[in-house]
């Protein structure tokens, strides 16, 4: 099977997955969740009022039509209006995407590069004290809850020492930089542990392969082996690991954004969760699921291009 047939088949598989995702979202938000008309009107609503609001929200239509709306929204990105702010959700997403990306993209790039450099060092000095202490440091970093980093970081670095802005955001290129610095740093600290551990495992997997022994027998230096041979082969799992994280960048960091007052998609989502704004939460779920599906197709196709050993079935 060649790469094109594989890609087409992989794309066709998107359809059942997307329908399934929409089904789960439909069941969660439309079928089993508590009646939104009750939540919006309170305890003393009359039956007439409730029927009216249910009609307004489109909840009196058949299940199939409601399900179909969700499926349609996955393609058209037309999610209707928010219940609490009455804004068009599509517009909210457009406004929120940029602030989210200004935090998540630099943070993601920085953490990936730093983690790769550290793990290369660790692979070079494998088995020694340096290796061991880095692994322990990673595990320790991972064991502290994310909220503690955010709270202590905001309090000590921004509030007490005044090194960063405490919270807030400004649009436009140089203006946003001081506001995203601390969230970016916290992001890097949060993701460096799992990243380094993963990259280290990948590189150590490669370093014990036969081709490395051959390279060493040829008399190549450890540097050439590491950078030219091991890194190239380790790139396959590393690319997969990196690409599959990209869809989550769109949503930004839920907690970081809401703590630092960044008006991104993550902050919007958390507000919507707090105010039980179902359409917004549903829209964000659909959006991130679609992004995830698209990127997993890209990862799979990339994988077959980069690694000829992957047999297409």
């Amino acid at each position: 099977m060649n790469i094109w047939t594989y890609t087409i088949r992989r794309l066709l598989y998107v359809i059942p997955v997307l329908l399934g995702v929409c089904l789960i979202i439909f069941v969660l938000f439309n079928l089993v969740s508590p009646d939104p008309s009750l939540m919006m009107l309170g305890k003393h609503a009359s039956a007439h009022q409730m029927a009216e609001i249910r009609h307004e929200l489109g909840l009196d239509r058949s299940w199939f039509l409601q399900y179909w709306d969700i499926v349609k929204s996955a393609f058209t990105f037309d999610f209707g209006r928010s219940w609490s702010t009455k804004q068009e959700i599509t517009q909210m997403i457009k406004n929120g995407a940029m602030p989210s990306l200004t935090v998540s993209v630099p943070a993601f790039a920085a953490s990936t590069i730093i983690a790769l450099i550290i793990s290369l060092f660790v692979a070079f000095y494998r088995g020694g004290k340096f290796d061991k202490s880095i692994v322990i440091a990673c595990v320790a970093l991972m064991s502290i809850p994310a909220l503690a980093y955010i709270l202590f970081g905001q309090k000590i670095l921004a509030y007490d020492w005044g090194l960063f802005e405490i919270s807030g955001y400004e649009h436009g290129f140089p203006a946003f930089v001081p506001f995203v610095l601390l969230p970016c740093i916290i992001w890097v600290v949060l993701s460096i542990g799992p990243d380094v551990r993963f990259y280290r495992t990948v590189m150590l997997d490669e370093i014990y392969q036969d081709y490395v022994r051959t390279a060493r027998a040829k008399g190549l230096t450890e540097n050439v082996i590491l950078f030219k041979h091991v890194l190239k082969n380790a790139m396959i799992p590393i690319i997969t690991w990196v690409v599959i994280q990209i869809p989550f960048l769109i949503l930004g960091a839920l907690l970081l954004e809401s703590f630092f007052g960044i008006p991104g998609l993550g902050g919007i989502t958390l507000n919507a969760i707090n105010s039980a704004d179902f359409p917004v939460v549903r829209a964000m779920t659909v959006l991130s699921a679609v992004a995830y599906i698209v990127f997993s197709v890209i990862t799979d196709v990339l994988y077959t291009i980069v690694d000829p050993r992957v047999r297409l079935k």
């Binding site: 991972m142 809850p145 907690l255 989502t269 779920t285």
Partner: protein
């Protein structure tokens, strides 16, 4: 002659050592790792604390006023007091109860679902496999946090909702791993041998294959356990946490308002309590993987 018998005795002893089971080997190598032993000790202490607070032997004064509001840490109250004058130390101890129970029940739910579906998919293949793979692909396409929030929304607040939400969202990776491993095992000679002496599907799958993939379950469970403890904090921050009794999540959540007034001890106590047990699970998880995964032998 004497020398020969000693050599023979040595050989016999060696043979005896070689015939130790995989589990025995794993256990011994685990016990040689002093960090792993320490982690097991820490986890045991947490479990004991959780049982003792549950039965009311210690920290039963967590909802009593023991001092003024926001008393700073002193000899009377080692971790200070919270807004109601409750002892933060007692609250932290009481929080272990929620953390351990959340970790335990969540892990149990995810192991049962993950192993069951993973084994079915891997063993039967074909349509069953396709449906199960479709199901978990679908499930994992929805971001974890959204699914978590949606399920807790529906089930309402409380401990049971947290158990179910965390349990129902954390089985996919285990299911995937078990499926892959069962596929690798199902055509091996020992399974064919079981078939040839008349073992049915059920017997082959549960008696022969599953014990051979059990190590993956254990490794995965140690990961699920600590993820569950960490996720409880996020749920508490979203206001979907435990009601009516202290948990580390609600303590950290309270701290977001207290910190501006300089009240850091509640956050510090909960963070430290959590750090220690999550760290122990992390180290234990690594040690378990080294001890149990034959692919990593000799590295």
């Amino acid at each position: 002659m004497g020398a020969v018998t000693i050599a023979e005795a040595g050989r016999i002893k060696e043979a005896e050592q070689k015939s130790k089971s995989l589990w025995r080997h794993a256990f011994e190598s685990l016990m040689r790792d002093k960090y792993a032993v320490m982690s097991i000790g820490i986890i045991c202490i947490y479990v004991i604390i959780a049982i003792l607070t549950y039965t009311g032997v210690i920290a039963s004064d967590w909802n009593l006023e023991v001092g003024p509001s926001y008393a700073i840490p002193s000899w009377d109250n080692i971790f200070g007091t919270d807004i109601f004058g409750h002892s933060v130390l007692s609250k932290t101890l009481k929080g272990a109860e929620v953390a351990i129970s959340v970790g335990f029940v969540t892990t149990l739910i995810s192991v049962v679902i993950g192993v069951f579906f993973g084994a079915l998919a891997g063993y039967y293949g074909g349509k069953v496999d396709e449906i199960i793979v479709w199901f978990y692909t679908t499930f994992s396409s929805i971001p974890y946090i959204m699914l978590l929030v949606a399920i807790t929304f529906i089930l309402g607040k409380g401990l049971v909702a947290i158990y179910l939400a965390l349990g129902l969202t954390s089985w996919v990776s285990l299911c995937r791993v078990i499926r892959g491993e069962v596929i690798r095992h199902k055509d091996r000679e020992y399974v064919q041998a079981a078939y040839s002496i008349g073992g049915g599907h059920f017997r082959r799958l549960f008696k022969h294959i599953l014990p051979n993939v059990m190590h993956l379950v254990i490794i995965n469970a140690s990961l699920t356990f600590q993820t569950a403890i960490k996720s409880e904090v996020i749920l508490s921050y979203l206001g979907l946490g435990v009601q009516g009794r202290p948990s580390w999540g609600t303590m950290i959540d309270d701290a977001k308002l207290e910190l501006a007034r300089g009240v850091w001890w509640q956050l510090a106590a909960a963070t430290f309590a959590m750090f220690l047990v999550v760290l122990a699970f992390n180290i234990l998880g690594d040690a378990l993987r080294d001890a149990l995964d034959p692919k990593l032998k000799g590295k």
